[in-house]
């Protein structure tokens, strides 16, 4: 037993680094109130984790008796998650909203690392026990962070709504897990797959369980109809946390969901020889369920976003819509589709965090997240205006920005799988999304500043931060070869013949 644990620990260095950083920051918080120090300590932990992920040998394996899979797929998502966390930690150092809260800064930074840990575990979870635990670790830390500025009424309210929705979703998921366990006698998804493959399982019970488990995933990736918490939490939580939830926790949810569907329900022996697409056990097409979620998410997210005036809320609905686009990639149930989702996450990381960073800057400087605060921004602060323009165009998916590459690969995967109807819906949705993104552009450039709308400059770190997000957003739109190759090389899921 001990040799196995030691062996597994070698694969577990990234998570260990995060755990150590978490403990260190908590302890440091007992002796210092310096938010910069604890912030930097947390960042060091995340950077160390990133380092350990990147130096891991490109071999697929599992750790801790098949609890965690360590494979190309999980490494890719861990990099996305950790990069997003790191960038958000940088935001947090600058955020005025957080500065105003004197108490508990060490806890804030510690929770960020704990959140990163939970999400990394989600990316690798290959046992339903681990899935549940990782999901809960992520969720519970998110509840706390969403309510972190608890003196603000909306923050506490957001946290409460989040807890209720999150707990219900995870309860449903747990019930689904218990049914799957009852059907197959296993929690480990590889054994579940074998048991299902033997064909002694009541299909309808399995479908019920699968749908209950999908509720858990749907909540985490904020897919319609499990999205109700999203706008409230995104609006109420501190901007930094909203940004993190919109990218990293969505990535973790997708990673867990893709692994679960890929391993549990796919016919691993017979499937995928001819077309590259996965065959499903028992003949139930899970991708049809996902397709419904995808279409609902895109359409509802985009349509409701049209009416929003609060930028955080608008971006919340936009993130629901983006979850829909990404779900389209999963619907193809093919390596092409999964790699498209992975590509999308990398570009989404930069463009969405960029948009949230601009929201944070404007909120810090004008005290408002409303659309009206953006009137005349193009004249008041041209650099922010141009940066926001590029982020928004990228979110719409207009070349030569990175967002176009993301959409291109999602659409390509669908057309490759001959799912023309879905791809048309996706394309039309991106036209709808243009309308509300352009509303922001309109306010920034076509409207004159309100009287008293101060001209504001940017400090050097702020410019550097914007450039850090802006450059990849443009560069990946013009030269995406390495990203695509890396993503396509990383679709390997442990135990799955490609």
């Amino acid at each position: 037993m001990l040799p196995h644990i030691l062996e597994s620990a070698k694969l577990f260095y990234p998570e260990l680094a995060l755990t150590i950083a978490f403990c260190f920051v908590i302890l440091a918080g007992l002796v210092t109130r310096n938010r910069i120090f604890t912030g930097l300590a947390g960042m060091a932990g995340v950077l160390a984790a990133l380092y350990f992920v990147s130096v891991q040998a490109p071999v697929d394996g599992t750790a801790f008796s098949d609890m965690l899979a360590v494979d190309g797929f999980s490494r890719f998502f861990k990099i996305v998650i950790l990069a997003a966390t790191f960038i958000v930690q940088l935001f947090s150092l600058q955020s005025a909203e957080l500065k105003s809260r004197a108490m508990g800064t060490a806890e804030y930074n510690a929770l960020l690392t704990a959140l990163a840990l939970g999400m990394c575990l989600m990316a690798g979870a290959s046992n339903m026990l681990m899935m549940y635990l990782a999901l809960e670790l992520t969720s519970i830390t998110s509840y706390l962070l969403a309510g972190y500025t608890r003196e603000a009424e909306d923050s506490a309210e957001a946290a409460l709504k989040y807890v209720i929705y999150g707990a219900v979703a995870s309860g449903m998921m747990l019930y689904g897990i218990s049914i799957v366990y009852g059907l197959t006698g296993a929690l480990d998804i590889y054994s579940v797959n074998q048991a299902l493959g033997s064909g002694q399982v009541n299909l309808w019970t399995l479908i019920l369980a699968g749908i209950l488990i999908t509720v858990g995933f749907g909540y985490k990736i904020s897919a319609v109809p499990f999205h109700f918490w999203t706008p409230d939490v995104y609006e109420g939580a501190p901007v930094t946390i909203t940004a993190l939830l919109s990218v990293a926790s969505k990535a973790a949810g997708f990673a867990m969901m893709i692994r679960f569907f890929r391993v549990t329900f796919a016919d691993l022996i017979m499937g995928g020889q001819e077309t590259g697409a996965w065959a499903m056990l028992g003949g139930f097409e899970w991708n049809e369920v996902l397709a419904v979620l995808a279409v609902l998410s895109m359409t509802l997210g985009n349509l409701v976003a049209l009416w929003q005036n609060n930028l955080k809320r608008l971006l919340a609905y936009s993130s629901i819509a983006h979850a829909g686009y990404m779900l389209l990639g999963v619907v193809t149930m093919s390596p092409e589709g999964v790699s498209a989702v992975m590509i999308y996450f990398v570009v989404y990381l930069f463009m969405n965090l960029g948009a949230f960073y601009v929201v944070m800057l404007v909120a810090d400087k004008t005290g408002s997240e409303e659309m009206s605060a953006y009137a005349g921004l193009g004249q008041r602060s041209p650099f922010i205006g141009v940066a926001m323009t590029i982020f928004l165009l990228s979110l719409t998916g207009i070349p030569p920005t990175a967002g176009f590459v993301g959409k291109l690969y999602i659409f390509s995967a669908l057309i490759g799988a001959k799912m023309i109807g879905l791809v048309v819906i996706g394309a039309l949705n991106s036209v709808v999304s243009l309308y509300y993104y352009v509303r922001i552009l309109k306010n920034m450039f076509l409207k004159d500043a309100a009287p008293g709308g101060a001209v504001f400059g940017l400090s050097v770190p702020e410019v550097a931060m914007l450039l850090l997000l802006l450059v990849p957003t443009l560069l990946l739109g013009l030269y995406f070869g390495p990203l695509v190759e890396y993503a396509q090389a990383s679709v390997s899921i442990f135990g799955i013949p490609r």
């Binding site: 509840y143 706390l144 006698g185 409230d232």
Partner: protein, 103 residues
């Protein structure tokens, strides 16, 4: 292993508890009661897991139950802490009154 009570009884009870929990979440407006309903949902899953585990002579389910109990406690603690934070601001525990954020 042989159960003195047929497994269907356990499962039926578990299903009833689960549905009661879901209904409670949907129908009740008091945040505390909602949390109690959520506990009911989690415990219904626990009951099913234990029943299955015993029936199949497989420990995995019972191990999961211990984790679920710990997590449920953590979740309840956080939930109640947030309710208290909100109560200090608002003097209410009814989710109907929480309407700063809406569509």
């Amino acid at each position: 292993m042989h159960l003195p009570v047929p497994i269907e009884y356990y499962l039926a009870l578990s299903a009833i508890m689960f549905i009661t929990g879901v209904t409670g979440v949907l129908a009740r407006r008091n945040a505390i009661v909602i949390f109690m309903s959520i506990e009911l949902m989690l415990n219904s899953a626990n009951l099913a897991l234990v029943a299955f585990s015993t029936r199949m002579g497989n420990d995995a389910g019972q191990i999961l139950v211990f984790f679920v109990m710990a997590v449920a406690a953590a979740e309840a603690a956080i939930g109640l802490a947030i309710v208290i934070a909100l109560f200090r601001n608002r003097e209410t525990v009814f989710v109907n009154d929480m309407n700063i954020l809406k569509w």
